[in-house]
Symmetry: C2
Amino acid sequence: MRIALDAMGGDRAPQVPVQGALLAAHEGVEVLLVGEEARLREELARHRASLPIHHAPDWIRMAEHATEVRRRRESSIMVAIDLLKRGEVGAVVSMGHTGATMAAALFALGRVKGVERPALLVEFPSQRGRTLLLDGGANADCRPGFLVQFAAMGLAYAEALGLPEAKVGLLSIGEEEGKGNALVLETYPLLRAAFGGRFYGNVEGRDVFLGTVEVVVTDGFTGNVVLKLAEGEAKVLLGWIKEALASSPLARLGALLVRGALRRVKERVDPAQYGAMPLLGVEGAVFVGHGAADALAVKNALLRAKRLVEGGLMDRVRQSLAALHV
Amino acid sequence: MRIALDAMGGDRAPQVPVQGALLAAHEGVEVLLVGEEARLREELARHRASLPIHHAPDWIRMAEHATEVRRRRESSIMVAIDLLKRGEVGAVVSMGHTGATMAAALFALGRVKGVERPALLVEFPSQRGRTLLLDGGANADCRPGFLVQFAAMGLAYAEALGLPEAKVGLLSIGEEEGKGNALVLETYPLLRAAFGGRFYGNVEGRDVFLGTVEVVVTDGFTGNVVLKLAEGEAKVLLGWIKEALASSPLARLGALLVRGALRRVKERVDPAQYGAMPLLGVEGAVFVGHGAADALAVKNALLRAKRLVEGGLMDRVRQSLAALHV
């Protein structure tokens, strides 16, 4: 299975995508670079390496409007999505314009049957492994039915990752049924009816890092706030620790000895570990990364995409949604 | 100015409240303990110390319903709030039942003119000092007007803390006007009209810890998720660092040298530093702490309450709200 990488997407494209693609290729991923052929050849030449290229003369700039994709059929993301639609690749990864990637996927691929709104799935490191949260920001305003569909997609994703026993929790501000905002109060009984024992009930903000459940569902506004807060807090906390370790000669000496141990903690919370977020609910495996992503994130996104598609992600999502409507 | 402490509130009452009250008294706070006189005398005797006591025979247990306060007029929180209403104390602090404290305050004190819904204000440590966020959880569902009032109260609180130049940001999922959910889109122009240049515009989750603005407003659902996520993440991250520092003989040796430096980071993110959250918008200075709070948190809550009330908190809140309706 080949994976198309939008090589023109991201703050430092095509350098970073090409670098990440080479790292992934080295670990056995068949990558197809999509973008301006001449620039990509040049970039590959700098690495004295070779990868297949599919030419796309145009690309969507970060400052442009997402809806541009509708009329820019030769943009790298539209060309990549089109390859996916025609079955020439098994997944698309882009570190470019998130909105444009979502718009392209929705426009060209359409939705999985039973999905009203596709959602972005975000991964957090947790005490028990990882927590999958959706929606990470695709839908600022949600209706209860959307969250039920997010839960179905999140559980399907967990299964494709090898977590068949995953449970889903509803993000709220109290554990008891009856605690929450209007959306949560309406959603709770629907999740109970749809998933029975696989629905854990309400979870709170702290449960994301504690890992109380594998899958957390929330609206895309709350989910995106959570995502950015978690990243910001990790960055600031680790910065304070770095400062503290340089604050005295004794601390600096100790810092030399603990450097390796602390690096492992830093890696554990580094968003690059996850690489990119899947856009679940569109008819194809599409992964969207951060524009500021580094080559490691690109590599991990490609590896993750390969693993999930080989784990039957798309069929699992379709089945999970179909089961909602039996 | 005396401050009434609900000495029966909290998971380990009256031991912890009495201990915290003694620490605060040592730093110059005039504390009045409110609760069952015999138990409080006994507790004080164990410390061979003395503090004034106002007897209250009853108290609201953590598992009871908040509305119990309406018929339990002799409960410690109702008696304390009543002392505040009669002007016998300048503030009330409780580490007890949050809902009961809010209900008692709202019921007995009423709202500041111009306030539709009181809000809880939460403090976060930030790269630039601190970030004040409201609503921390008093109102799960909000209308745009509530958020404008929260902003007025947050700015008044910042002034009472000695931050007259504070700016307010609207928590959203993109910096540009036009990004956000329906509530945010409606609230943005109202904040601009009400606060002009003191309204910074939208801020994102990461800005809470970066300290981009001093005051952040959001609905009580998002605010409470943020609060609990931030606490949970700090706890889990510091736990991982602790584990990492014990992971090898070399790391354990280094850990001895950096222990003091790391303790300062831990203190910086410890919620006990702030002690308790003010309930802003009721006609009196009421502070609500965490049931699991320790004596340090009780002490800090009492010190913070004293400083704020002496800084003219209540008048500033009233003026700030009045200015909204000129």
